[in-house]
Amino acid sequence: MDCPTGFSKTIRLEAMIEALQYDFMRHALAAGLLASVICGIMGALVVVNRIVFLSGGIAHAAYGGIGLAFFFGWPYFFGTIGFSLGAAVVMATVSLKAKHRADTIIGVIWAMGMATGVILLDLTPGYNVDLMSYLFGSILTVPASDLWMMLFAAVMIAGLVAFFYKDLLALSYDEEFARIRGVPVRALYFAMICMLAITIVLVIQVVGLILVIALLTIPPFIAEKHTKSLLQMMVGSVVLSAFFTVIGLWLSYAFNLTSGASIILVAGIFFLLFLPLEHVVRRSRS
C-alpha cells in the first residue's frame, strides 16, 4: 500500500473506495458513525450542562472497572459498567451537594480509578488488556457483535432522549424553574449521568477513551453557538462527528496513521479554525 508522493486526488478517492471492500474498513466506518450518533446526542447534553470534566472522570475511572472485571473474573461488561455507574453516581452526588469540591473529587476519582485498574491488571495472571488499545481503541478490529451492541445503544439513547426531551431541556437550561414546574430534576439528573456512564463504557470499548472524550466535546462545542435548539445542537454534533470520523478514517488509511488519533486531529483542527473565525464573525456583527 505504498502511495507515491504525488498527491493525485483520484488516486486517494480510488484508494478509499477500494478500502471499503474490506470488512474491517466497513466495520470501522460503521463503528465510527454509530459512535458519532451516540456521542453527538450525549455530548450535546454534556456540553450544555457543563459536565465535561465529569465525563472525563467517568471515562478514566472506567479503567478501574476493567481491572476489577479481569481480576475477579467477572464478565467484562458487568464489571466495567457496574464500577463506572458507581463512580458516576458518587461524582454526580458530590457535584450536587458540594459544588465547590466537585472539581477536586472528580480529579481524585479520575486518577485513582485509572491507577486501580492498572494495578489490578498487573496483579491478574495471564493475558492482559493492552493500555494503548483502551486509550485509542481498536476501531480497525471491531467485531460485528460490537456493532450490534452500539446500534442497540444508539437506538435506546435516541429513544430515551426523545421521550424526555422537554424535561432534559428544562433541566439543562433552568433547573430551578424546571423544579417549580414539577420536573423531577434530581432523578432526571442522575438518570442522565447514568446514561452517560453506560454510553461512555460502551463506546470506549470500540473507539478508545481519548476519542470518546473528543467526540463528546468538540462537535457539540462547535454546534452550540450555531444552532437554535438543543435538538439542532444534537443533530449538528452527530453530523460534525460523522464528518470528522469519515475524514479521519480516510486520512489514517491513506497515510497509515492511527485511526483514533487521526479522527481526533481532524476534529481538533476544525475546532482551532473555528475559534478565530467565530471571533471575526462576532466582531463584524457588533
Binding site: 457543563r50 431541556l169 439543562s172 437550561y173 433552568d174 417549580i180 414546574r181 453557538k225 439542532q232 445542537m233
Partner: protein, 258 residues
C-alpha cells in the same frame, strides 16, 4: 371571601446553623402588589424560595392555595433575576416561554400547537413577539427579563414573583416596566423583590421589609426606619448613603437621625 394565595405562618429558616429568617408571618392576597425590600443576606431570596417550595422551613408552614408550597408551585409565576448557568445555551425566546407550559404529572400530553399559540401571545403581551425566533443570548438584559416574564405569564399564575427585575434595565425602562406590572396586577397578584430601595414604584400597594425578621406595611410608604434598616447609621458615623435624585424625589421621606 378573599382566600389568601400564600399563607406563611411563623416560619423559621436556618442554614448551616445560621438563622436566616425568624418568625415570619405573611398573607398574600389576590390583587396584592407587594414590594419586598431588605438588605442583602437579610432573607428576601430565602423567603421567595420558601414560597416556591424550593426550600423547606425549619419551623412553621408555607401554604400556597391551601396546600404545602411544593405541591402548588406551578400556580406561581416565577421571574428570576437571571438564569444561572449557561449563557450561550442554544434556545430561542419562544422555547424559553414554552418551558412555562411544563406541568407536573402531565409529562406526555401533546398539545404543541396550542402551547405555541399561548407562548406567542405571552410574548406579544410583553412586546417581544418579534424576537420569538431569536436566540436568548442575543437579547439584551431588559429583553431577556421580558421573555422570563412572558414565561411566567404563560403558566397562568395566581401570583407573579419577580426577583430584582429591574437590575438590568435603565431608569426609563424601569418606569415602563412598573407601568406594565400595574396592568398585569389587574389579573394577577404581584410580589416584587427589590434590592434597591429607591426603585419602589408608586404603583406598589404595600411594602414588606425582610431582615431576618419581618415587617409588613400596608401602605406604600418608605419610612426612615426602613432606610435605617437597610443602611444603618449609628449616631456618630456619617450616613453612608447619599440619596441622589433627578428633579424632585417622588416620595418624601421621614426624617432619620443623621
Amino acid at each position: 371571601m378573599n382566600h389568601p394565595i400564600v399563607e406563611i405562618r411563623n416560619v423559621f429558616f436556618s442554614y448551616n446553623g445560621h438563622e436566616v429568617l425568624q418568625d415570619v408571618t405573611l398573607d398574600v392576597l389576590q390583587g396584592d402588589f407587594i414590594a419586598m425590600i431588605g438588605p442583602n443576606g437579610g432573607g428576601k431570596t430565602t423567603l421567595l424560595k420558601l414560597m416556591l417550595g424550593l426550600l423547606k422551613p425549619t419551623g412553621g408552614s408555607v401554604r400556597v392555595l391551601g396546600v404545602p408550597a411544593q405541591k402548588a408551585s406551578h400556580h406561581i409565576g416565577y421571574v428570576p433575576q437571571e438564569v444561572h448557568g449557561n449563557r450561550s445555551f442554544p434556545i430561542t425566546a419562544l422555547d424559553v416561554v414554552l418551558m412555562g407550559k411544563l406541568e407536573p404529572g402531565k409529562r406526555f400530553t401533546r398539545k404543541s400547537r396550542q402551547d405555541r399559540e399561548e407562548a406567542t401571545k405571552a410574548l406579544e403581551r410583553m412586546d417581544m413577539a418579534a424576537f420569538a425566533g431569536r436566540r436568548i443570548d442575543e437579547l439584551s438584559g431588559g429583553q431577556r427579563q421580558r421573555v422570563y416574564i412572558a414565561r411566567a405569564l404563560v403558566t397562568q399564575p395566581k401570583l407573579l414573583l419577580l426577583d430584582e427585575p429591574t437590575a438590568s434595565i435603565d431608569t426609563r425602562g424601569q418606569a415602563d416596566f412598573f407601568r406594565l406590572l400595574k396592568k398585569l396586577n389587574k389579573d394577577v397578584a404581584i410580589l416584587v423583590v427589590s434590592h434597591d430601595l429607591l426603585v419602589i414604584s408608586t404603583h406598589v400597594k404595600s411594602v414588606a421589609c425582610v431582615n431576618k425578621r419581618f415587617h409588613y406595611h400596608c401602605q406604600a410608604e418608605v419610612t426612615g426606619e426602613m432606610i435605617e434598616m437597610m443602611y444603618p447609621c449609628t449616631g456618630e458615623e456619617i450616613c453612608p448613603v447619599e440619596l441622589l435624585a433627578h428633579g424632585l424625589p417622588h416620595r418624601v421621606l421621614k426624617d432619620h437621625k443623621a
